[in-house]
Structures are given as structure tokens and as C-alpha cells.
Symmetry: C2
């Protein structure tokens, strides 16, 4: 069987060029050699996030970055507007709730996206809101929110627009500064093509100004300390050296290709997968599809778990089931990061067709 192909919405396949960097002999982090790496990755992260503001890197998974953005930028007494239409939006909301904030939870059914007008209305009804929490790419439903249009309503107001782009970054377009997004979260194991273990938080001036006012205790994820250390190409605590050297390579790869081209590639592959699925007569779950993954509704009588098993065991192709109530009902076919290529998508589609046939669906023969 061919090498296994991860078409999951994180971790995504890690190119050998990047994996090899994780296996370099260890170096100490308080050295000129590692400082040079930190200086370069911090500069290159800004080019990938499309921001002139600092992008902090933490040894953590994405949830750590979500929590850090709450504890560093907000207070317990703050009103927070949460827009959720999926598992990840709910998580961001729940973290704010767990810190005792006054969370106004605006919800839409899974598969749908908030419109900019709905966000505008939510903000008008909650004028004291200190922050808006929203997901860029909601991987539980394959939805992307219209962040650019939403930011038009927030960028000139004191409210912080905090965007969980953990799985959206480097898949769906996101221009932090041009759009006026205040906080962008990301994770290493999605569009950045890295192993899991690093999480990112970018903060613009408005967000940085909120740090001093936050009274929630924190230590490991302290933004003020992290930003101070970054100015000296340092980190407050021992960084994940091997992952950061791998990130150096991953960022170089993204910038060699250029972010516009990275986004175009994702759009092209997403379009290919969607059209192929529609050619089978299948329906897509997302009403505002992300370029990072496609969620396919299973026809009556087919359990997505069975289809996923056929793909994995028979083809070495790994896709994800739905989560929670969507388990068994959708297949999440990711085209994210390094595995976002037409050949990989074709391999995924071939496996998918075989799985459909074997689990009871008569798929037309495909080219």
C-alpha cells in the first residue's frame, strides 16, 4: 500500500523537508544560533499572518492559545460576544464562560455561517461588549466565516475582534492588518504543515493595549512577558526547539510559494473536491464552505464511520468523521496544508468512491 495520506483537518501531512528539521541534533535555546532562528521565524510569521504586529508562539495545542487570548486580554467582569455554529466556536465561548465572564452566546445551526449583518446587530445590541469571539474556519462543519466583512464593523470600535484561525490560517484567506482583525489564533498542525505542539497568538495595537487592563492571573501564557522576550529574540520559558526549527522550514516553504498562491491552491483543490462530490449527487454540509476541508453528507443508509474505515484500511487515506451529533453523518475530507494538492485530492476522491460503493452507494464511475 502507498504511504498513508492524512486528509484530516489536523494533524495534516508534514513534508519530509520539514520532518527532517525536527530530527536535527538538539541545540541550546539561549544561543546566538537559536536566537537567529527565533528572529527569522518571528519575522516570517508576520508575513504569513499578514501583519506588522507580533505573533507569539507557545509550546501548546491550539486550545492553549484560545485560553491565553481570554486570560490576557479580558477581565472577569467583561461582556463577551460569542458567535458559534460549531464545536470550535463553542469551545472558545466555553473558555470565556469558565473564566466567569458575561458571555452573550449567539448561535446558529451547524453548517451555517453568521453574516456580517448578524454580527453588526449582535454588537449593536451589546454595545458594552469588550470582545467578539468567532471562528475563521469551523472544522466541525467545514464553514468559513466572512471575517473581512465582519471586521468592517469592529475595526473602528473599541471592541476586540478575536478570530480563532487555528485551522483556517494559510488555507482560507486572512489578512490581519488589511482587514483590521485584532487577535488571530493559529495552530501548527493545519495549514502550517507542522506536527502539533505549537500554538500562536497575533495581537495588534488595540489588543496589546488590553493586556495591561486584564487582571486574570496567568503565568505560562503571559503575553506581556512573551512580548518583552520577543524583543530580544528570546522566549520567557524553554521553547519547543525542534518544532520551532521545523517551523522555520515550514514558513520558508509557505513564503517561497507566496500566501496568495497558497490560498489559490486551497481554493482550487476545494473547488475540485466539491465538484467531484456534487458529480456523485452528494450534498455538502457547509453553507459557506471553507477551502481547507469539505464536509460531505452521507446518503441515507451509509454510516460515515464505515466509509472512513474502508478508505483507511483499503487505501491508506485518513479522513475524519463528524463530531458529536454529526458522528456517522458526514465525512470531513480535508485539503489543508501540504496535502492540499490535486493528486492527493484525486487519491482521496478515488478512495472515497470505493468506500461509497463498498458501503452501499452506487457511485458513478469517475475519471
Amino acid at each position: 500500500m502507498k504511504e498513508s495520506l492524512l486528509l484530516t483537518p489536523g494533524p495534516t501531512n508534514v513534508p519530509k523537508r520539514i520532518l527532517d528539521k525536527t530530527a536535527l541534533p538538539m541545540i541550546h535555546h539561549r544561543t546566538k544560533e537559536f536566537q537567529a532562528v527565533l528572529e527569522r521565524v518571528n519575522a516570517n510569521l508576520q508575513k504569513v499572518f499578514l501583519t506588522r504586529h507580533p505573533v507569539m508562539t507557545f509550546a501548546a495545542s491550539g486550545t492553549g492559545a484560545m485560553e491565553a487570548s481570554i486570560t490576557n486580554l479580558l477581565c472577569q467582569s467583561d461582556t463577551v460576544l460569542s458567535f458559534s455554529a460549531g464545536k470550535w466556536g463553542e469551545r472558545y465561548r466555553d473558555i470565556a464562560k469558565s473564566y466567569g465572564m458575561d458571555v452573550k452566546s449567539l448561535e446558529k445551526p451547524y453548517g451555517e455561517a453568521f453574516t456580517p449583518q448578524e454580527v453588526e446587530r449582535g454588537l449593536a445590541e451589546n454595545p458594552k461588549a469588550k470582545a467578539i469571539l468567532i471562528t475563521h474556519c469551523e472544522t466541525s462543519t467545514a464553514v468559513t466565516h466572512p471575517i473581512e466583512a465582519i471586521a468592517k464593523f469592529t475595526r473602528d470600535k473599541p471592541v476586540l475582534l478575536m478570530v480563532d484561525a487555528i485551522s483556517g490560517l494559510a488555507c482560507d484567506p486572512l489578512r490581519m492588518d488589511d482587514w483590521g482583525v485584532d487577535v488571530v489564533l493559529a495552530g501548527s498542525q493545519k495549514g502550517l504543515m507542522l506536527p502539533p505542539g505549537l500554538a500562536y497568538v497575533a495581537v495588534n495595537d488595540k489588543a496589546q493595549a488590553a493586556i495591561a487592563g486584564s487582571q486574570l492571573p496567568k503565568y505560562y501564557f503571559d503575553f506581556a512577558e512573551t512580548l518583552k522576550a520577543m524583543k530580544k529574540n528570546d522566549t520567557p520559558f524553554t521553547p519547543a526547539v525542534s518544532l520551532i526549527r521545523a517551523m522555520d522550514e515550514a514558513l520558508a516553504m509557505l513564503l517561497e510559494e507566496g500566501m496568495e498562491n497558497v490560498w489559490k491552491r486551497h481554493a482550487q483543490v476545494a473547488d475540485f473536491v466539491k465538484k467531484k462530490m456534487q458529480s456523485l449527487g452528494l450534498k455538502l454540509f457547509s453553507k459557506a464552505p471553507s477551502n481547507g476541508l469539505t464536509a460531505i453528507i452521507m446518503p441515507d443508509g451509509i454510516d460515515s464511520g464505515n466509509a472512513i474505515k474502508v478508505m483507511r484500511d483499503g487505501h491508506g487515506v485518513v479522513m475524519a468523521d463528524g463530531q458529536g451529533e454529526l458522528k456517522g453523518k458526514i465525512v470531513r475530507f480535508a485539503h489543508m496544508g501540504a496535502a492540499c494538492t490535486l493528486p492527493d485530492a484525486q487519491r482521496g476522491f478515488d478512495a472515497f468512491c470505493d468506500a461509497m460503493n463498498k458501503t452501499g452507494f452506487k457511485a458513478p464511475v469517475h475519471a
Copy 2:
């Protein structure tokens, strides 16, 4: 020049056998394949910590584990007894302070260790103390605390003995269950021979009973959720897959050697380095030396920074300077983890002698 040799107290050299595992093709974490890895590493961590209790693994640096132990096991209203005689003891104390606890800070001069009687007295004077915070190996001073003897005074009392063994684990002896230690913290990049990026917290029954009573908010480092997931060989959040597979290999290596033998090797190499230094007429900084590193006081007129530069640039041997007020005054010669061998220690000593000669010290010729 030979390959660079890290004789720093973390990160330590990572054997190729372990590094290679970090570069394996990525796999998804919600799979039987990765569950099997989690099951094995969780069982093997218990053998390395010498405990039948769960050892939690987090994607974080050691400081994350320190903070997690505070936020999950204690309340803001708790009295906490901190014993510090170095930078790392102070950090543990400061984290407790940052969460608003009533911290009784007992301090000794750098280079010294608390005696069991001093801990007993501290506890007698603060009978309401909910926890004792103490460092196993204090790498800023190369001191090891007598944890076994200290635990005799705490194991039958309600107070939690919380031991920061981030750099001590798998270097200096530590028998969590036999000694009756309630909480043991560790980090990946020391005796465990891994890249930095993983942190550990082991909790016995007494510590686990404290989880429910803690009202401090937390999310990413939530022990209750972590322990629940571990029972299903799962993790609450995406784990650092590549580092955990490397850990699988590192734990296998430690257990092949046997913990008794690992400790003996560290004791033997530590003894070798100490005697060599004393043969040069040099004084050691630590009054209770750790087996993981040796701190050598620089003779008058020699700046440790200069000596370290000669070793690094001329020999590819990396040692650490003192921290804070000790900067320039001591060399910290680590013999920790995979680089804890007599040949590596000899190479370190040769480099050290050359550095002493070149920075103005007349070292006797050594064998």
C-alpha cells in the same frame, strides 16, 4: 570539529534513536495506532516516575506544569509553604503568589539545601498549610533536596508535597510512591533525553482528591479532563504527536537500562566530574550536589562567560553560565540524560581545562 556536545542542564543531547522518531511520517491522534502509543507511554511513565498513579503529559514547557499543579490542586485562599534556595524554587513560589495565595516563603542562600528538619519546623509553624512547594534538583545552584526524608514528615499529613523534579527526574533518585510524594513535575528536555515541548504532572490519590476542591479557573491544563481522557488512552486536546512518539522511544531506552542503573550512571559521572574539579583545586558551589549537574566556582579573575565561550567555540562543548547574580561566577557543567557518560564528561573536562588555561588559570595537566 566534533559534533557539538550539550552539557547544559536542559535541553540535553537527544540520541539519534529518539530524534529519528520525531521525523516519522505524521499520524492522526484519534486512531488505534496512536492510542496504542499513548497506552504504552502512560504505562512506561509510571515505571520511570516509580508510581502506580497517573502521570499526565502536556504540550508545554516545565513552567506550564508548575502552573497547572497550582491551579488544579489549590485555591486562592490556601496557605502554601514555599521552600526556595534558587531560581526554580522562586519560580514555583511566584506562580503561587500570582494566583493570590497566602504564600509563606522560606528561603536559604543559593548553594544550600533545606534539611528535613527545617521543612518539619516550617510545617509545624504553619499547620494550616495546604501544600509544600520544593525543588528536587535546583539547576540554578546544582543542589538536590532530600525529598525522601522530607516526605516522611508529610506523607501522613493532609499537606500536599509538591515536588518540582523538572530537571531531577531520571538523574537524581526519586521514588514517588515509596517515598510518599504527592505531586511530581517533570520536563522532557532533561533526564528524559527528549526535545523540549512536553511537561508532566504525576498525582497520587491525595493530590487527586484535591482536584475537586480547587476553584481556580483553568482549561488547557485541566487535570480532571486530562485524567478522564487518559482512561480511554486519549487526550482532551491535540497532543504533540511527534514528541510523544519520541517519548515512547526515550522511555523504552530508560527502562531497558533500568532506573536504578540510570541513577547509578548519573552518580558515577557526577562523582567523576566533582573529583576532577577538586583535583584542579576548584571549589563546588553546591553544598548538596545533584547528580545531574556540577556547579564550579570560578577562581578570582576568571569570568565564567569567557570560559564557556572558549569551550563552545574551541571544543563544541556547551555548558551554562550562572543565572542572575551568579552570572560570570560559576560554570554549570551538566551530566544529565544521554550526555551523562564518562567519555562525554571527559570531553567536557578537557574542554574545561583548556578554557581555564586560556582565561588565565593555571590548571594542572590532567590525564
